[in-house]
Symmetry: D2
Subunit: 315 residues, 4 copies
């Protein structure tokens, strides 16, 4: 990511603000407010506004349960209780707004989270920046043989080079032709005077899906955690995970107590089915049990063993 | 509304905060932050948090339309344009949180606005306050003869007194019996030692619908305006309108430019059907037109005449 | 629940329809379509429309994953996989509509599920039926001593009788006074000629929260399961659980394969936190472990032991 | 759009179903159920399921307003009333599901309507079809000079040919390189044995935005109308309007009475601001009024004149 001088200057000015407010403030998050955290080759994540903090969650829960919550003596205890029992509404009382720059094919995954507010840069109105995502060689993975949506080994040598060259050439050529059709360059200059350009809303269709777009994305704390649980997970596509992991760090700065509970109960936790519970119970009693007698499918069995890090052989 | 000394003290402390933030601040709204604005006999509206202001709407629109918005030179011009053309997403970029005390039958209307976050005081956990809504004599209206959901003349004399007495007696008696069943008084003291009380989640069913409840209610600027358009309207029930009107004032302090556009295009505006447009066109041309030839139903005709303040007779 | 003759006749007519359609049909659900399943003393649940069945879930998943799903050979296997991995969108492709009669205090819990469409009987327009919920003596529970939102022992003898008498008298008196204020009886007849009645939107505030209301409630399969997971759970209030359990039966008739997966992975399953997983792993290895060394709070420890039916003592 | 023989056969079979149901049926919609209506060069719209019809809207409204609706004697009268007064919930009681094939850049506009359920073909799992949108020469418009998001004159001669050639060549080349990177052809055959292909989730980034994708899209009647109001409008981009117009026809077959009211009050209607109302009133009274005295901006003035087809000059 290379910010323009203008952008750097703007961020600097925003960060030098010192406004007075009666609202609650999250001091660690304030420190990085407006900052552009680099993601992938040209992308970024910036927190640009927020509302509330851990105490807002507690405050909302105490309104709901009234005197009933007095027994839970600490804020941390209450937040853990809420997380463990899937209480959702107190976590909706905090809000955060990000400015994000990301490749279009990732934006298409991201937007499926419907409970957020979005303002995306519109290529009907304006020309898209000349920036496309090209994976580093570490991330140039082959299709997994065993998982239809997964990655296998990293491609090497000639083949890797070939793939990168194709991605680069195609992105550059289609962008050049985009300018050609628009009769306008990315910097706004006209290519050929006295000639009409194709409508922007049409010309954009020539761009490749790794072209970068950007948007403001605003959501509440509950839905942010729902997003992070799915997208910071090891099964998520690497490119979206890169964003989610940076956002996890902003979550930690914003609501540190909620973050701890989230890591323990959601990210690090697991689910066990009714049938799975019976297996665990038997294992605890020291009984031997095998896939064949378990009532589980091969796949379920493997997932259960993996969740509890059990060596299949030793059972 | 009578706040307890404790509550008054708490509000005072919250209001004396001076936190430093890099976020945008709405100075007029800051002045009334946490303040309890009295509504009806025991209710209130308090703004307890917010995010963004008019510039956040503009900022979001400019991200979307990029350089395309540079031609609209002023923020006010852009906000008016967005409002007029029903652009919705830029208005979703601001958020506000209220603490509201309101009678249960009004809460039941209110909650139908689904795009908000709510934490309500739970009568499963805690005992409800001993407060019920009793209309002032001005608001003791008869059923309208012409509008199935409207109010007619105000009741008078003996009948008005009778109604108020019944409302008061029934609310007090059912509350007293609620305490009796709980074996606990509203102040938390036990009525009869060594006797079990009925579960709270059951006892609450004995309360009348004018009992007050309270909640935190958080929504974005777009959905707040949707709420206010319906609930600050003259067709809304008086009791919910009283809340909406106080909230309109908070809107004005928060986002004054958006407020102006909202009043012009939404609250003060009207809609005209395809058939209605033909009538207006004829009237402008000076043609005579009558209900019979209009293609409108009697009801539609009346609504159209009323919307443009036209004296039916003179046409 | 006593249906009027009119209602019984209407249901009979609806059930005698034989329309021809090219849409998929759920034969077991068709059998009970329109039927009023009695709940509590005056409530009911009726399925009145639906769209899709188990094959619609499969169809949607196969569109998403394309040829990728061919390896999962059976519909049941695919539905189980989707449920286990929290895939949500394929379950949103089915829709169901219920007609429900329920006490207002339960309706207030229910409506918090926002992702549903609702049309409720409006007491602004029309007079509410003269029906109130009175618990059976089995359900007249004392407040739990250990759980702020739970029930303890059942009340007995004199006290139980007293509670029931109070509930009945208060509901009847407030309803009688509701009619008095309206100057109209529940059957629509006027009480005193030439006298105005109080507006309906006001008079309703005198009713108690156990008065019955009714609504149409429509939701998709995913959100129905979210509702049932919470409301058919043993921690849910008995009165709403009674509805949820009847609806579970309709789920089984509608989408039997999804129902099986739901019972195994959601209803019968459990969640284990990161810390909880460590405990389970140690127990499986035969290690001794005690609350003190577990890193869990007393409450978390108990919940974990309970989830796996472990006798605390033996560990 | 060319369907494969397999697809044609499948549609034929689905259409030959004759299932018996007690549900309401929309006979005109049944006639085209499953049919693929061609849109653009390779796209289509298919209605594949639905729930409810005009009577479902009426039924829901009558539950809400109870006896209060008896005065509105006809279903059409009631539906018109609901539409005119923006009653929303009764229209949410009907549901429809489409199968749609569309270019990705249009899918990106479409998905911004969040209140719908979507299952899209996943290019993480499967290879996208080798189909891209190429505009007809009629639709190859230049960028508008006056409207930042509009189209101007149609491009002609050499320039038009050039644009079409570029679009075609770039789409074909990027698709060919997509296959090359995958080491797999669109028909599933391997290009070079014993060589790994790039992961699908990565290779897709090389495709251009006019590549076709497909999805199931399910929404309720209210949100369908919200979509159509925006997307069948003359300001919508031609390519999405082509879909919306075909869907308007399905709306007409499904709920003909609602369709009529929608066309009159929404599509053909207009909105007038508070200031605009004053202008209209003066014009009706025969007063002269000019932009300068109107309190409107130039742009607002023009929009008002246009809405009522008024010749600016004559006023």
């Amino acid at each position: 990511m290379k910010l323009t001088k203008e952008q750097e200057q703007e961020i600097k000015e925003l960060q030098s603000q010192k406004n007075t407010t009666k609202r609650v403030v999250a001091p660690e998050l304030e420190k990085i407010l407006y900052e552009a955290i680099p993601i992938l080759d040209h992308g970024f994540v910036r927190v640009i506004d927020y509302m509330g903090d851990d105490t807002s969650v507690v405050q909302a829960a105490r309104v709901s349960y009234g005197k009933g919550t007095k027994k839970v003596s600490t804020d941390a205890g209450l937040i853990k209780y809420l997380m463990r029992h899937w209480h959702s509404t107190p976590f909706e009382m905090c809000e955060i707004k990000y400015h994000i720059k990301l490749p279009i094919f990732i934006a298409r995954q991201w937007i499926r989270h419907r409970t957020a507010n979005v303002n995306e840069y519109s290529a009907r109105y304006s020309i898209l920046d000349k920036e496309f995502y090209l994976p580093t060689s570490d991330n140039l993975a082959a299709q997994s043989k065993i998982n239809r949506q997964g990655r296998g080994e990293v491609l090497k040598g000639e083949q890797a080079k070939k793939v990168l060259d194709l991605l680069k050439e195609d992105a550059e050529r289609t962008y050049k032709n985009y300018e050609e059709m628009l009769n306008e360059r990315y910097d706004g200059s006209t290519i050929e005077e006295n000639k009409a350009g194709l409508a922007r809303e049409l010309a954009r269709m020539n761009l490749t899906l790794n072209t970068y777009t950007q948007w403001y994305w605003k959501t509440d704390l509950l839905n942010l955690m729902n997003f992070l649980r799915l997208r910071a997970d090891s099964h998520a596509q690497y490119e979206i995970r890169a964003y989610a992991e940076a956002m996890l760090e902003t979550l930690k700065k914003w609501v540190p107590i909620t973050y701890e509970a989230f890591m323990d109960y959601r990210v690090g936790g697991t689910e066990v089915s009714a049938k799975g519970k019976l297996i665990i119970q038997k294992l605890i009693k020291g009984e031997k049990i095998q896939l064949e007698d378990s009532g589980l499918s091969k796949r379920e069995w493997n997932e259960l063993m993996q969740a509890f890090d059990l060596n299949d052989k030793s059972i």
